[in-house]
Every structure is written in C-alpha cells, then in structure tokens.
Symmetry: C2
Subunit: 339 residues, 2 copies
Amino acid sequence: MSVTIRDVARAAGVSVATVSRVFNNSGPVHEETRARIREVAGALRYSPNSAARSLITAKSNTLGVLLPDLYGEFFSEVIRGIDQTAQQNGYHVLVSSSHETQARIEGAMRAMRGRVDGLIVMSPDIDAPTLAANLPDSLPVVLLNCAVEGTTYDAITVDNFGGAYAMVRHLLSTGRNRVAIITGSSRNYDARERLRGYRAALHDAGAERQEGWEIPGDFTETGGYQAARALAMLSPRPNALFAANDAMAIGALSALRKADLSVPGDIAVAGFDDIPMARYMNPPLTSVHVEISELGARAMGVLLAAVQEKNRHERQQVTLPTTLVVRQSCGMESKQTGM
Amino acid sequence: MSVTIRDVARAAGVSVATVSRVFNNSGPVHEETRARIREVAGALRYSPNSAARSLITAKSNTLGVLLPDLYGEFFSEVIRGIDQTAQQNGYHVLVSSSHETQARIEGAMRAMRGRVDGLIVMSPDIDAPTLAANLPDSLPVVLLNCAVEGTTYDAITVDNFGGAYAMVRHLLSTGRNRVAIITGSSRNYDARERLRGYRAALHDAGAERQEGWEIPGDFTETGGYQAARALAMLSPRPNALFAANDAMAIGALSALRKADLSVPGDIAVAGFDDIPMARYMNPPLTSVHVEISELGARAMGVLLAAVQEKNRHERQQVTLPTTLVVRQSCGMESKQTGM
DNA sequence: TTGTAGGCGTTATCAG
DNA sequence: CTGATAACGCCTACAA
C-alpha cells in the first residue's frame, strides 16, 4: 500500500517518468524496459495511488448516483444496470440514498462535488425548477425519471404516460367500463405521468371518469391495500383497477380478496413495472413491463458520453418504451399462458 | 470548482494554514478571523479538494461495498442500511456488484484498493479460505453473510441456522410430519446454514427425513416454482414445505396452485426473509423475519469502528437474531390476524 | 493566534 | 526512447 512509483522506478533502475508511461500507455517505452517494469511492479504489488492521480488529472474516475430512497426491487435493478455499465467502462460508482427532500439533495450534491466526474440524479419528488437551481453546472448530470419539461438536461425516463395509456386502453377494450386508479404521491413525477395517461385514455375512449375513482396511494403494498379497501366500498363499484405500480397492485389484490371480491371476475387488476414477482401472484398480475436495469444502464451510458466528450456533447432526453404484459388478473382466460 | 484554499486565503487576507485550520477545526483560530474565512469561503463557493486531502491524510472517507449480485428486495434493503449509517458518520459509499466468482471479487478488490478506507464484503458463494487469500490485510474488512468458521475476521451474519430450525420446528408442531425444503445453491453460505437448520430440527424432533425432500433451488421465484412442481409429484407427498427464501416460496405457491394443491390444506408453505410482500401473498406467507436494513447498518457500524479505532479494535462476529412470523400459508386459522 | 515551507504520489513538460 | 522537475491542492510541523 505504501509502495510508490518511486520504489518501482528504483527497483527497475529507471525514472519515475518511465514507470508512469508504462502505467498510462502514454509516450513510447522500449519493449524490454516496459516488461521489466511490469514485472517489478507486480512483484512489489504496486498499484498507483488514485488520490495523487486524481489530484493532477482532475478526474476521479468515479460517478455519483443520487437516489430518492432505496426501496424495493425497482431500485435494486436500477443500480444493477448503472453499476454494470460503469464497471465495463472502468468507472466506480458512489451512491447516496434517502434523499426525499430538497435540502438533503443539496447536501448530498455538495458532499459529492469534487469526488465525482458526473452525476446521475433520481429524484422524482423534486420539481424541475428546484432541481435546476441545485444542479452543479460544472458537472455532467443525467436526470433519471425526473420532471424535465422545458429543461435542457440530459435525461432518461420511462414512458410512464404511454404505458399507463396503453394499459387503461386495454382494460377498456375488454369491456370494463368503470376503471379506477390507485395513484402514487402527487409530488412524484412518475405517478403524475401515469395518472395523466390514465385520464387521457379514458378521455380518448369516451369512457366515464369520476374523481372518486382516483384513489391516492404511495407506491407501497400497504398503501395499495388500504386504497383497494376503500375502493371496494364504492357504489357503483369500479370493475377495473389500475395501480400505478406493482407493489400497490399486490396490496390491492390482498384487500380485494379480503373483501370477497373476485379478480378478475368482479374487478380486473393491473399494475406497473412488471417486477419479477408479478407473474407469480394469484391471479398472475397484468402489468406494464419496464426494462428496469436497462433504464439504469442507459442513464449511465448517457452520463459516460457526457463525461468523456465533455465539451460538444449533444444533450439528449431519452424515453424508454414499455410493453403491456397481460396476465390473468385482468381477465385473460387461459391458465396455460398466464405464466 | 477551481477555487482553491489559496484563493480563500488571499480573499480573507490570511494564510492558507489558517483557512485549513478553520476547515478542519484543528488548532486555534481567532473567532473573528474564523467567521471572516467562513464567509469568504461561502461566497467563493469553496469546497476542499478531496483528492488533495486524501493524498496527504491517506484517508478517503470512503467505504467500499462488494456485493455478489444486486438482486431483489434483499440487497436493496441491505444497501439502505449501509448507506444511511455511513452518511450519518460522514462517510461515502462506493459500491461494486455482480461478483459471483472469485476472479471478479479479486478484481474488484484491486480496483478499490487505495480508494477506500475499509470494505464490506458480501459473498456468500465464496468459501472462507478463498476469501481469506484475497482479502487485503492492510484494510479493515467486515464480512456480511459469509462463511467465517475458524477465521478471525469481523463478521456479521443472520441467524440462518436458528431461523430455519425454529421454522421447521414450528411446522412439525402443527402436526405436519413430512416436511420438505427447497434449498438454495449448495455453494451459498446462507443456503447451507438454512439447510443445516432444517435437518437439525427434523433430527431433534425425531421426524422423518428423506433425501428426496431436499429439492434444489436457486433463490429465485422461477427456481421455487420449478422445485414445487417437482415436489407436487412426490409420493407420498410432503405436507409442509420450507423454502429457503421468500422469492422461492412465492414461486412455489404459484406452482402448487397450478397443481391444484391447496395451501395450507394439502401442504403448508413457509419462506425466509419476510420481505414486505410476504404478508400480501395469497395465502399470506409465513416466514422467518430478518431485519435486513439493520443487517447492513450493523455491518457498517462494525466497519466504522474498525476504521476509526484502526489499531486495537476487537474483532467481533455478530449474529443477528430472527423471528418467526406465522401467517396463513402454514395453517394459521384466523383471517383477522393474518395481516 | 498566525505564517512559512516541505512534502504527499502522480502526471506532464521539457530537455537530452 | 528516457530523465529531471515543476505543478496539482492541501495539511502540518515548526517558527514567529
């Protein structure tokens, strides 16, 4: 650990400059001396001090990830995608989680400043202007599932609107005419977009819409459970339910069961995300499939481009498509293909 | 970003040493000048260059986390606990995931060497000797859910054996006399321990045990599904099933349903981990509750102690207790308390 | 209480 | 192809 480039140089009978050259593939080095240096360095178990390197190159080879709250399978997958892509490109990942409030985001950014070459920010709960005010302008930043309308940040989002729209459209097409929704927090960008898709689908199909059919939730199983319990007592009762994520849909299934309502007989149920467990629910849960780890991978991809091209990098706002996965919870007949 | 300590010093009309003292609370500084420096620094948006700081102090204020594979709710929770504890103590977290093989672990460690002050290693698939050979001796390391018998590393593990033992014991106590298990990979430490607990419980209770009742799984929903499908065809058929984790238990529930077996009527089912969704299954899933984020928090706590005390730090191997959570999947009657 | 100056381990710019 | 040597930004004795 305390073996430095000088030790290697001395042991190999060369100057530090030459050692540096072989470790950076910079400048020409005689093949023979290069081999000797590599050997000596290996024997000494030398590895360059990254702090010193960062100090002079002004690069840390580290990228930061700011997360709202590590919770559930969703984030686990996102990070997986982020980390794999980073690793493949020789970068490290510094994570910082649990940033629901603006103050915390701000603090986390300050803490990361100088330690990272770029940042992925995932904070669906913070609005765009607030975010903009806090984002460092000197640092490449990619927004993940954030409200970015009218901004010029690099951003990547799931097609929340399109996915919700397609799902509700599908529910209507199966003959359900009273479609309710369990929403996420109204401060949450994803949740707002999914609600918007729900409303648009109803509107475009000329279907009935009621305020009371928009039941507030919070993206947790418990929230979904409680919302569905409330929904079960509505009259007339909706005959389809679109939960803004799978966790809530699963909670809802449980509540409906308890209320002795059959799914999909009395009411069809659908979720969003298509987490791995969705297909193993009873009944198997219809959902909007999102390639979650791909989401993280793409975000990291854009960030790497921004970091490496640095100047002259075209800002891009990517929307990841979703696909409808129809299973029995919304009335698919065959038990065969439900899996 | 390019504003250095010298700029602050110049602007405040003092020397860099004084500014440094202010930012490190080291040495005495006149209250008045301290205030002025803080103000100037704030106005200039100065923040110390961490690379330079690390270079001279030989500390990075960063702790590394090596994960086998970011997968499912479990890891999400572990990281949450780790990160929160780190943040509270002013440390950053560098993560690196997807290290199933020894070679990858080794590479990741090399990559982190010098960038972190300590390491949390979670690699249940690697055996202790192999691990030991690759662990840096100069760096504080805490093992998380690893096989550590006979080693002196700091380590923290879930009481896999005890949890499994208690669960099987419980299943037997409800009158089930043919208890099967879906195991995890035999290379996985957690899985081995849970299997050991299963066997011990059967043995101690004088219950019947059969090779064929130990069905291999892989900790995924799909693995559980397939294992349960196989189990359903056994004769005589087991009347209780202990899955070594919840994901497999959920897959199993689905398969048993498809095989027209009733749970808990024909067969009781139990899992391990008690992930949030367990209680919302149909029927609600009995499981061994683990305080997962606490696991991460504790690991980080031990690591911080090791890093800060450095010398003279007593090695400790902590085992986190588990609790039995009984729900309807193993025959609890009341629908009321099943939630 | 404050300032001066040396050095942390590398890289990069010059000469040779 | 190789070797000195000046930065990089900061901390920390040691002086004042």
